[in-house]
């Protein structure tokens, strides 16, 4: 009888002088790695393409997953508030920042075969570990709530009642888990994530001025006025691309997929491809809502309201695509973010944590994943809660929590004791340091605008 047929049991194997326990999770991962080994042995273009297909996944998922409900709302608000200008190249730059730090998580996961939460806890102790987990837990839960808000609002455009929207979203999330195989989960979620690109045709339907678009992309102009709103949008757009859950998710997914140091190059390409696709979708959302610039006040707009406002410009079909894009953004992110929470919980509590686990072996993993999503979904259905509060702060919270998360990433990825031959190269360290400085500066600027508005106004006059 095979271990796959009897998943709850472990197998004792003698390997050389060591006694090794092989689990169901190992066997599933070994099947995936066997395909990679076979593809790697070929030298034809077809083998290379097949190898790439096998190894991509976590990078695209994390980047398109981060194009979530609040992120797409942030981009839509950016377009409606500032039109085509400074923010088009700025958003592309933020994805460059995300690429730099996410590449480090691939390297770390492939070299250590451990998740991010696990490494912080074991290497630096529970004191610093719990701080990181509190940041992650609060950020993930707030973000999950906003994903269900986006789903409810997006499907609300089609007249679907909130309870039905939420149930549908949870059904999709749980269906993705049914196979109990990382590979199948990854491919199903990737297929869903591909719909994020729906914002590109919506942008084309808005008939943008391509000359102005090219000018903005190259010259970063016109510049937005210096003010509180601009700082808030800057912070919100950064928080739409660089957040702590992404670090935890991509490293854990890299480990669960079974990537090794030989695969880092492909992992980097996967992340680059994800960043390029996500940046295209984000810019698409800005361009799509740019015609609303000067026509409406987009303060606290929700998905359905943007779709309604766009209807006279891009028609009922275009507005429907926009609303569907918001729904997709919420669904994919709810899958990846709840998975990130479940991975981190398993790593910290040293309980089994893998999408290759059958339910009876990964009860706590699947319970955390399912309950996080269900709790966030349930909150969205409670009438009268001031949920706009959550939408307002979620991206800002993400930016503010990033610098300490990046410090630990930086320390770990340069730790030769655990990284062996593949510590982070100097150029990547330089860029990561720049990212930390930029994020902290943006956070401080935001803090000054709130705490000392007179000082902020004086800075604007400089």
């Amino acid at each position: 009888m095979s271990a796959e047929a009897q998943p709850g049991k472990k197998l004792l194997v003698m390997a050389a002088d060591d006694e090794v326990v092989v689990t169901h999770e190992d066997i599933d991962r070994a099947h995936d790695r066997a395909k990679v080994q076979s593809a790697r042995s070929g030298h034809s273009l077809r083998s290379r393409a097949w190898l790439l297909w096998l190894l991509i996944g976590p990078g695209i998922l994390v980047m398109l997953g981060e194009n979530d409900g609040p992120s797409m709302l942030s981009y839509a608000a950016t377009g409606a508030k500032f039109g085509i200008g400074f923010f088009v190249p700025f958003v592309v730059l933020t994805f460059g920042m995300a690429l730099v730090v996410q590449e480090m998580t691939v390297r770390l996961g492939a070299a250590t075969h451990r998740g991010h939460a696990e490494l912080i806890f074991e290497r630096f102790g529970p004191f610093w570990g719990w701080f990181s987990m509190i940041d992650l837990g609060i950020g993930n839960f707030l973000t999950l709530i906003t994903e269900f808000i986006a789903i409810r609002a997006g499907l609300g455009f089609f007249g679907i009642p909130p309870w039905a929207s939420i149930l549908l979203a949870l059904a999709v999330l749980y269906s993705a888990l049914l196979s109990h195989r990382y590979w199948t989960w990854e491919r199903v979620t990737l297929a869903a994530a591909a719909f994020n690109l729906i914002f590109i045709p919506v942008a084309v339907m808005a008939h943008p001025h391509w000359g102005a678009f090219g000018h903005a992309l190259l010259n970063w102009k016109p510049l937005p006025p210096f003010g509180k709103d601009t700082v808030l949008i800057i912070l919100s757009d950064i928080g739409a691309t660089v957040t702590p859950w992404m670090l935890f998710f991509q490293q854990s997914a890299t480990v669960d997929k079974g990537l090794t140091t030989k695969d880092i190059r492909y992992g980097r390409f996967d992340t680059l491809l994800g960043a390029a696709l996500a940046a295209a979708a984000a810019v698409g959302a800005i361009v799509a809502t740019a015609p609303l610039f000067g026509r409406i006040s987009a303060e606290n707009f929700q998905a359905a309201q943007f779709a309604e406002a766009l209807k006279p410009i891009i028609g009922r079909f275009g507005a429907s695509l926009f609303a569907l894009g918001m729904v997709e953004a919420g669904i994919v992110a709810s899958i990846t973010i709840s998975t990130s929470s479940a991975y981190a919980f398993g790593e910290v509590t040293q309980r089994p944590h893998s999408l290759n686990l059958p339910v009876n072996q990964g009860k706590s993993f699947y319970a955390v994943l399912g309950l996080c999503a269900a709790a966030a979904a349930g909150i969205v259905l409670i009438p009268g809660l001031p949920l706009v509060f959550v939408v307002l702060i979620v991206n800002v919270v993400a930016v503010l929590a990033m610098p300490p998360a990046l410090l630990f990433l930086f320390l770990l990825v340069n730790d030769k004791e655990i990284m062996g031959e593949v510590p982070s190269p100097r150029w990547a360290n330089g860029l990561a340091t720049l990212v930390v400085v930029l994020l902290t500066a943006a956070g401080v600027l935001y803090g000054v605008s709130v705490v000392a508005p007179n000082l902020f106004a004086w800075m604007g006059r400089l």
Binding site: S2, L11, E122
Partner: protein, 69 residues
């Protein structure tokens, strides 16, 4: 070795051993990574960033509270 024949095929066992690196095995991950103490500049930076996060979170909550009211 008797358990091996009861619960898994020999082919699967050898597949695991030939495709996964030793520290990729679930059993190997039970071995903790050695502890490293934060010192000097890294410790100061970690505390400074922690204070920054706590202070800024209070600012966010305050601003959002005013916005909602």
């Amino acid at each position: 070795m008797k358990e091996q024949h009861e619960h898994a095929s020999l082919a699967e066992t050898s597949l695991v051993l030939s495709t996964l690196e030793h520290d990729q095995l679930v059993a190997a991950k039970k071995e903790p990574v050695p502890r490293r103490k934060l010192r000097g500049g890294a410790l100061v930076l970690a505390w400074a960033l922690r204070v920054y996060v706590v202070f800024m979170m209070l600012v966010v909550v305050w601003q959002a509270w005013i916005a909602v009211r």
